[in-house]
Each structure stands twice: as structure tokens, then as C-alpha cells.
Symmetry: C2
Subunit: 412 residues, 2 copies
């Protein structure tokens, strides 16, 4: 099969998600294949923030905690995220960062499985997931340790000493998807709890936390949820666990009556105890705008479009760049892949910089991964075509060999 | 002495800080005596945020982590805060919330004093300070406990079992100021470390962390630093301790090389290891604008003006409301008081609501405290006069007795 641009134009014309693109303020001349790192700006966000800043903060000042509903934002944003990850109401709240939320829930899980001392994860998991567990283990002395097992050995490693299985659903580098229901069931069969990092899933894949009987989950707000740079994160606690979870980060916003100013911590009912300090309202409001759009999209369609985009990208790269230019660093089968593809090349960093100079924005992950994310809400199939045309041109002429593309910036 | 409004007009005319008022967008018809809860909006902030959202996020997207310096914001904001709290460079960074930062540093301090099991604080300290320590103690099992001693008993309670003395410099309810240098020296003499919560100090009082030989400090960004609702907080670690502090919240932004994506946590040098997850950029940028203004003001003048405003307010209340209408709930001596005064009255909640209805915004703290904050950067002496005229009118006619002023909102 040889594809032409007209084939992709036809897909765009028939795409039921196409109208969502108009809800984003995408810059001219840019093909943005990095929505998996920072989602695009929703058109509604600048006006929301301007109103928040000038009217709610500037004019109404402290009163806005009540009158503009600031105090309720973490709960409201959480409830909007819940259906996006397959959770019924009352189980998701927006708070803190993904890292802080991982700490909260990992510490709580260890407390719920006294006598078990292992937190199980896999090597190469997103660094913050591993670091947070290392920090927790160090803090708790010898009460808990982090054990890493390769993917195919995880099921065997689920023995009676495992308190918690912590995995990232879609691997940030390879895009490979874990079998969330299967591993959750395996963990439960071994008496362990599960904590899923859905940072690369929420808003792009169907997740189904409730259906899988998951225990805990966290995720970030700035990727497919379009909440802006460093947006607040969120966390999920299955209803059945909520009253057992003692918050290790017992900040005043998680108190049953924060404005009673008692000396003794009494955790709030339900998800509210998962709050810690005062929430950042600017970030929460921006996240609410981003989530509002995602929550309206049909999740099966999102998943189908993102898989098809990945398949097309890989097919076009093979056709236009030649089959041996890049090694495949993600599953070839779309069913095993999240909403991104990864290629490897020893000069990956410089190639990505050369692409960015052409307005095609992907990103690079050390040591040699070129990563292309497909945000199905606002990408067109023709964007995939055009991006590959640029990639082929960069490779054909060795454009990436210019010195300016080899200088590393602080953030890669 | 009987004061007239003309006396306060004369003070305004001679006030060297008066020009700072123009840097804030204060609403018409409002006398804002709650800058100690939420600082007013700096005029520069809306444009800064609009540029950040539309150009840095919307147009430049992921590239802005480098090109707009997002990655450097926590350090830059921290360095701007440093002189405001009397800290030399390289010791302050903006991150997370006050609550999360309290946890980080309290946990680190306990680790630096092995064998000692007491964290000492005072009853009635700001709730989150106590709750965070209770959460930490519960997490660590019997390795550490929170002990509370009344102010006048703190020095005696500093025995060889105390690992850390944690106090809020200016009490949120009474406004009473602790002797930061004296208590720091007493703690050190007992072999303990100190952690100061400067939420009600930074930007209103002279602090002098380095001069006092303080160990650790935290503070919030949304009061006198004018960073907006739920602004990021900040933390201070004295240079001499920085390499000993193992972050218990080991997020990827605190790694020596976050973009190397290693499996093993290696803390960054200096303050960068105090970062945890990805920082919220909207909040950081707003905080930078707020801090920029405070950092330019002479701190001795800020302190002098805020003391004088408190003294005048108390004198005017006695004159205009009568000496027995309110009980004094803060020190009468301005030298012992932060930048607020507190009165008590059994009907405090309703009185504050009646004042707010007149556009005079103070706040209420259970069970009976009326709290009036004086942000010396943007308040005028005549505002003090006018506020007391309103308070006297509310009391004279029993205006607060209306039913609508007795209904409690979620946030008080």
C-alpha cells in the first residue's frame, strides 16, 4: 500500500472528532506532535484566566473563595476528570503534583498492608514514580523497599510480601500499554494493592478504573488534559478504600473542618482528605477549562483515532524515510501502544532539533528516542502526513548534522 | 490625644512607601484589610499572565520550558524572595505548598538528629503546621512525636530529646511575634534545629534568617508576597545544611539530572533538590510579579509603617467604638505584633460580615476573633481612619444583628 496525502484528507473529512480542533488555539505553521508533554492551549482558557485574575482576584479579592467557588475547584475538577478515566463520582480530586500524589497513595497503601514490605514496579518506569518510592522507603527505614521486575516477570514477582504494585499504564518512552485489568486482578490475587500512574493515558486512552477494580491512581493535568504548564495533578481512590486512607501529608485543606482551626487533625470524609495545602487557583481554573473539552469527547473514538494516527505515522515513516532509517522503539501493534510512537536513532536529539526548526514539534528522551505524540482532540490526519514529509526531508539531506542542532538545552 | 482624619492625611502625604500603591489594582469602594490572607493584585500581573498563556504556552508550546525560562522559575522566584526574608543567595526556592514544604523540612530535620524523637511546637499554631507534623509522626511510627508547649514554656521544653523546634513567626490569630533569633539560639544550645513558618512575616516584617543562624524556613506566596490565590510557597535551607538534607519527597525535578531519566534518585546540589514534581508555571509567574514589588521596598520602612498602622487602628477603635466594645486579642505593643491586629467579640463573625457589606474587608477566625491586616505596600493611613469609622457605625447601630450576617459561608 502506498498512501497519498489525499487518503489522509479523506480521513480528516470523515473524522467525527474534527470539530474539537477549533476549541484549541494552535499556532500557524506548527505541527504539534508533543501534546503528550504539554497539551495545546484551549481557546477558552485566556478569557477564563483574565476574568479570574482581574475580577475574582483583583476586584472581589478574598471573598472569591466563596463567591467564585475557589474552595470547591479541586473537587469540581476531579469530578470532571472522573469519567475520563472510567471512575464514578466521588473518587477523583485535583491536587498537588503527580509526584506528591504518588507519595500520598504509596504511603497509604503500605499502611493498609502491614507486614508486607515490598513495593513492586518496573525498571525504566517514569523516573518520578521510582524516585518517590525510593524517598518513601528511605524515610520509613527498613519498613518498605522498592523492588523492580521486568514486565514479563511482574506477575511472578507478585508474592505475599508485596504491599503495592505501582506501574505507569502507558510507558513514557516506549508507549507500551500495560494490561491494567489483568495486572490489577493479579495483584489482588496476591493480596496486594495497585497504584496506576495514568499521566500518559488520561484523555487519550480508555482506562476504566472502576471496571478493573483498581485501588489507586494518579495522573498529571498538563498532557492530554490540556491544563497548561505544570497544571495541578489528580488522584483516584476507590470508594471502598477512602475511609481507611490516612493522609501522610496532613495539610489543613484535608481536615474535616479546615476553618474550625483545631489543633488535632481529623481527616475529611471521602476524597477531600487527599487535599493538603491551599490549592493553586490559577492552575486549577486552567485545568478545568482543559478537562471540560476532553470530558465531552467520546473516549472510544479518541482511542481509535490515536491508534490509527500511530499506525499511519509508522507506515509513512517506513515508506518515506526507508524501512531501516529508524529502529522501532514502541510496539508495532496499535493495541499495545498508547497515544504516541517512539523511534530510535543514535542522532535522535539532533534530528528532533532539526524537525523543530521546521515547525514539527516532537521530543527526545535519552539516550536515543524520538517521541511523537498524537493528541486525538486537535491533530489532523494530514498533520501526520506533513510531519513525515518533513522528517523524510531532514533525513534525506542530513539536515540534522548542523552544529546548532547538537547543542543541548536544559529541558530536552 | 484625639485624632482627626487630617492627621492621617498628613501621614499619607509624608509616606515614602505611598508610590507603591499605584502598582496594585485595588477596587473602587473597598478598604482592604485582608492582605494578610490574600494579597492584592499587582497591576503588572494580568499582562504577564496573558503573555504567558497566549504566547509562551499557546504559541511556543513545549519549547517555552527553555525559551521562556519556565524551568528556571522556581529558582528565580526563590532568589527574589531571599532578601525579603534576610537570606543570602542560593538558599530559597519556590515550590509546592507551605504544607508540603513543612513536611519536607520536618522530615529532613528529624533525619539529621538521629536518636532525638521530639518535634516541639506550640498549641494554637497554624493548623497545617500541627497537622503536617501529626501526619509525619504517624507515618514514622514511634520514631518521632509532636510535643506542644505554651509560649512561655518553650525554652524549658527544649531538652536533649528535641530534634526540631517548629514555630510560626507571627501568630495567625493573635499577631504575636516570636523572638526568632532568641529561640533559634536557644534551640541550637539544646542541640535542636529550627523550622520557621514565615507565612505571616515575609513581605511585612524584617526577618533576618541568616543573621539569626536559622536552619530552615517556609512561607506562603499569597499573603504579603501578592502571588495570587493559592500561589506556590517557598522554602529556605541554610547553606550549611543543604547537602545533608535528603528529600523525603524525591520528585524528578529534584534530581541532579532530571532529563537523564535515570532509575536511581540522585539529589541535585543545593536548593534544587527541594523541588519535587513539575512546578505550576501559571502560579510561579504570578508570584514572580508579586515578589518583584515587595523586593524593591525598604524593609525597615515596611515594618515601621505596618506597626504604626496597627497602633493607630487600636487607638481609633478605642476612641470611636469605646474602650470596652472589643477585647484586645493581640499585643498592645507594636513591637510584639506582626502586621495585623486582632480584636475579640462574641459576635465577631456577624460584625465582620456587616463590615464586608460596607466594603471594609477584614476576616474572622473562630471562635471570636476579628482580624485586620495591614499590608504596608498598598494601604493608606486614611484607609485605617475610614475603616474604623465604618466599624464604629456597625457597632453603634447594631447593624451586625441582621440575619444575613449570621449565615456562615464555607470559607470564613
Amino acid at each position: 500500500m502506498t498512501l497519498g496525502r489525499a487518503d489522509l484528507e479523506a480521513l480528516d473529512a470523515a473524522d467525527p472528532l474534527a470539530p474539537f480542533r477549533d476549541e484549541f488555539a494552535l499556532p500557524e505553521g506548527v505541527l504539534y506532535l508533543d501534546g503528550n508533554s504539554l497539551g495545546a492551549l484551549p481557546r477558552a482558557t485566556p478569557a477564563r484566566l483574565a476574568r479570574l485574575v482581574q475580577e475574582e482576584w483583583g476586584r472581589d479579592l478574598i471573598r472569591s473563595w466563596n463567591t467564585a467557588g475557589w474552595i470547591d475547584l479541586p473537587r469540581r475538577v476531579g469530578e470532571a476528570i472522573a469519567p475520563v478515566v472510567g471512575a464514578g463520582p466521588g473518587q477523583v480530586i485535583a491536587a498537588d503534583s503527580t509526584s506528591v500524589n504518588l507519595f500520598k497513595l504509596a504511603a497509604a497503601a503500605v499502611g493498609m498492608r502491614p507486614g508486607r514490605r515490598v513495593i513492586l514496579s518496573e525498571p525504566g518506569n517514569f523516573p518520578t514514580d521510582l524516585y518517590v518510592l525510593q524517598g518513601l522507603a528511605e524515610l520509613l527505614g527498613d519498613r518498605v523497599e522498592l523492588v523492580l521486575a521486568e514486565r514479563h516477570e511482574l506477575a511472578d514477582a507478585l508474592d505475599g510480601d508485596v504491599a503495592l504494585l505501582l506501574l505507569t499504564h502507558v510507558h513514557y518512552k516506549t508507549g507500551r500499554v500495560h494490561d491494567l485489568p489483568g495486572l490489577t486482578a493479579a495483584a489482588h490475587a496476591a493480596g496486594a494493592l495497585t497504584l496506576w500512574d495514568l499521566s500518559h493515558s488520561a484523555g487519550a486512552l480508555e482506562v476504566g478504573l472502576d471496571a478493573a477494580g483498581a485501588d489507586f491512581a494518579v495522573g498529571c493535568g498538563y498532557k492530554y488534559l490540556n491544563g497548561g504548564p505544570g497544571a495541578p495533578a489528580w488522584l483516584y481512590v476507590a470508594q471502598r478504600h477512602q475511609d481507611q486512607v490516612r493522609p501522610p501529608l496532613a495539610g489543613w485543606m484535608g481536615h474535616a473542618a479546615p476553618f474550625a482551626f483545631e489543633d488535632r487533625f481529623r481527616p475529611a470524609d471521602g476524597m477531600a482528605r487527599q487535599l493538603c495545602g491551599t490549592p493553586g487557583i490559577l492552575g486549577m481554573a486552567a485545568l478545568e477549562e482543559g478537562v471540560r473539552i476532553v470530558a465531552r469527547a467520546d473516549r472510544a473514538r479518541l482511542r481509535e483515532k490515536s491508534r490509527r494516527m500511530g499506525d499511519l505515522f509508522l507506515a509513512l515513516v517506513a515508506e518515506q524515510c526507508g524501512p531501516d532509517t529508524f529502529a522501532l522503539a514502541c510496539p508495532a501493534d496499535g493495541a499495545e501502544r498508547g497515544s504516541q510512537v517512539s523511534l530510535s536513532h543514535p542522532e535522535g536529539y539532533a534530528i528532533i532539533q532539526a524537525l523543530i526548526a521546521r515547525g514539527v514539534i516532537g521530543d527526545f528522551r535519552a539516550p536515543d528516542i524520538l517521541r511523537f505524540g498524537f493528541a486525538p482532540l486537535y491533530l489532523r490526519y494530514t498533520d501526520i502526513w506533513d510531519a513525515v514529509v518533513h522528517l523524510a526531508a531532514v533525513m534525506r539531506d542530513g539536515e540534522w548534522q548542523a552544529d546548532r542542532f547538537r547543542q543541548r538545552a536544559a529541558v530536552t
